[in-house]
Subunit: 472 residues, 2 copies
């Protein structure tokens, strides 16, 4: 996942105050039996791990705009087909192409040594030759913003704040603001920005991720140091002598627009096939790792869940639509394209959920649906309990690729994953298969299957999502 | 440390069978009091961590032969002086220069993606242009040696065995043989060797380390994949299609011989100043990390121990000689030079010990000394007990830079460190300051101080070490 992760409290009084016991989930006995069977399957090999292994091994890094992403598109089409989906198709997604070619950094004085950096997504390069400039360290982006006008003229700004480790990832929000600090630095005269990686590890593997320039500001290169390198640089700065850095970056938007595709597989509904329950992950990844946790896992979990539903004796009332979204990382292009393409079909979008928070076990189920549908959500919650998942009413928010549609009313659900270790590997070269626990994926595939199946097999309409609070 | 770490069982029947209670350590009461004070100091800040911080921050990576090593030499001289050593001097160490310039690897078919490698020390490059060849995987070096003659013609041999994690590092020996597998591969016709890193981690940071070619074999490039990359490559090979790798390495011996220096600091003995107790670590490091655990920690622990002894009210009988050895990593050049330079003074070398197994706490004390000196060793053992260190008679071996002299009779001691995590970081870019626990360093500095002080303040002669068994 790429977009700023904010504290997820949905202040939805509508949902939380409902006398749900009085309502009815209107489920067949068979639906409940099938859902229980799907939940039980989470204790066995669902095949989800094999899908992560396949995508990371056969395709590997798949930066949007790259030839590898095109191969990933073919891979996803074939995988849906081999899993027995009824219909597999593509929907176009267009975006500007950004490329990374070369990046290096070294302290040249007073303590010469190499530093390990990665260029932040969307950054410009250093203009064909290295930049050499002194570092000015700031503890936070807020401190940088308070620097006097012109005080960074000719300098490289360095923001050194460290991200806090939490289960739900709420340490990400306060830290990640630094990632888009280039314009604030440029406005004070800086020639480049380096930041401490937005990550919780102590590995010499920096975290990339998208950064954005403010309108009208000079675009300067922006890069992240690994946590050990940030420690090192801060220890140098603390000694009091000017610390001079050489930065050499060749990266940037090419000026071209590329069209790629959301890859979609459907298990066709038996009675209301036009109505859809949407689940998915994103197919693209950053280029440093093989994108195992971000987000081959999300793709595999939801592909597997759909396939599990497809293998039931009878299809659910509604269609299960599994989407492998294109280019989430560089700005939720896949999710925005889906919302735009289907905006006339808002009423058909019954429920949407994206898995994009790594490969850790799901511990919480949350949803934003119309009041009438809350009994179904509560029924799903009861069916998820054997998987160790608790229901949290009035909390959470949609995944990044669901959010654009949820903002205009698409009902959403969230199966919140344990993200304690997620930001150790997020957007680094270390996002590889060995970080994925097959049993945790099985639990998740089963949970998505239960949720999507029951939502698709209940005749209750999920209506419109309560308005998002902007805190999602 | 660089040299193959073998199972450390010293079958020294002489030492183990001594009726030590009958002998006498001949220690003053004051010596015991001072030793107890030194041990107690291990619970406070000994200053060892600040030395590691200084070397890694102000110098960083210091590959033997590099300009950084020359800076490290100056750093060590100044550090000894600032710690109040009585005498600081240099002794020359010469060796052939090896340089790393560029290294990259990628699978070009059938699953194109980049692999992360590091060239092994001493390796040749790919001759100015990339090598492209198919992979042949072997589970072990032994399996490679069994391959039919000529069967690897034009291929890249790949050895995929994984090192086992243990406290005493005994998993290193069986695994590290693969690192010098290039000649065995070349003898079967291979054009290059890649191995799974000799390391216990799951990080995308490959482990370098010295490899050697056999006399008369064609020299082919040799590189290590990170553990996740090795998993990836094995998963590709398992699919059954030929896997083609492109390897591009610019590295090699320059043909030049360079002279660097062992940096030596002494706390002069008050009565037998020509007799020395030698402790030390090695000053050089591999070039990927900042050499915090390998071996700034060893340098800092022993420098600090000497300084602690120097601050006592009265110097010990004998001289404490602390050596920051040059170029251990590429072939124990510093240790061999010391043995050669001082070979006529074998009788003056009372006891030698090197700290070169990371930054983990010391849990065991071992020694190889003449029978007459065993009571002193046992007395030291009792004084080390409060630091949580157990005595193990008849076990262990000298550190790498002590071994050349110990082989001809220099008595040795070993303060064995907990190496459970050592091979997670060993010879990788991840060998950085954040991996070092300051309190563990304090315990170690105190232990070295106790051992060196008591050995230097006992009038008992340590004689000659029992013959080494070749298992050290």
């Amino acid at each position: 996942m790429s977009i700023p992760f904010r504290a997820c409290i949905l202040a939805s009084a509508i949902v939380a105050s409902l006398p749900s016991q009085a309502a009815d989930a209107k489920l067949d006995k068979r639906t409940v039996t099938n859902a229980t069977t799907l939940a039980t399957a989470g204790a066995q090999d669902t095949g989800a791990y094999a899908i992560v292994e396949s995508l990371t091994t056969e395709i590997g890094p798949r930066l949007a705009g790259s030839a590898a992403y095109d191969r990933a598109t073919k891979w996803a089409e074939e995988k849906f087909k081999s899993l027995g989906y009824d219909r597999v198709y593509l929907e176009p997604v267009s975006f500007p192409t950004w490329e990374r070619h070369h990046e290096s950094a070294e302290v040249i004085a007073p303590y010469p040594q190499r530093l390990i950096i990665t260029t932040l997504g969307g950054s410009v390069g250093t203009g064909g030759k290295p930049i050499e400039a002194d570092i000015v360290e700031f503890a936070t982006i807020e401190a940088l913003k308070l620097a006097p006008a012109g005080s960074l003229a000719g300098k490289i700004a360095y923001i050194s704040n460290r991200m806090e480790r939490t289960k739900d990832g709420h340490g990400y929000g306060p830290a990640v603001a630094a990632r888009s600090g280039a314009s604030a630095a440029a406005d004070k005269g800086a020639v480049a920005l380096v930041i401490r990686s937005i990550g919780t590890d102590s590995d010499r593997l920096p975290h990339t991720g998208m950064q954005r320039y403010a309108e009208g500001s000079t675009k300067i290169p922006a890069a992240a140091l690994s946590n050990p390198d940030a420690d090192l640089l801060s220890n140098m700065v603390r000694r009091g002598k000017p610390v001079t850095l050489r930065l050499d970056i060749d990266a940037g938007h090419t000026g071209a627009t590329k069209t790629e595709y959301n890859v979609i597989g459907e298990i066709r509904g038996r009675k209301l096939p036009e109505e859809v329950v949407v689940i998915g992950g994103h197919l693209d990844s950053w280029d440093l790792g093989t994108g195992a946790i971000d987000d081959a896992s999300g793709v595999a979990i939801t592909m597997t869940a759909g396939a599990m539903i497809g293998r039931l004796d009878k299809a659910p009332l509604r269609t299960i639509r599994v989407i492998a979204f294109a280019n989430e990382e560089q700005g939720v292009f896949g999710g925005r394209a889906y919302a735009e393409t289907h905006k006339a079909e808002l009423d058909l979008q019954q429920l949407g959920a994206e898995s994009d928070f790594g490969a850790g076990r799901i511990y919480s189920f949350r949803a934003g649906v119309a009041a009438e549908a809350v009994p179904v959500i509560e029924q799903i919650a009861r069916l998820l309990e054997p998987l160790g998942i608790a229901y949290e009413a009035g909390k959470g928010g949609p995944g990044p690729d669901i959010e654009p549609f949820a903002k205009v009313g698409m009902p959403w659900a969230q199966l919140a994953q344990d993200g304690t270790d997620y930001f150790d590997y997020h957007h680094t070269a270390n996002d590889t298969l060995d970080k994925v626990d097959a049993k945790a994926l099985d639990q998740q595939a089963a949970a998505y299957a239960v949720m999507a199946y029951v939502a698709a097999d209940s005749p209750v309409d999920f209506g419109r999502a309560p308005p998002l609070t902007g805190e999602e």
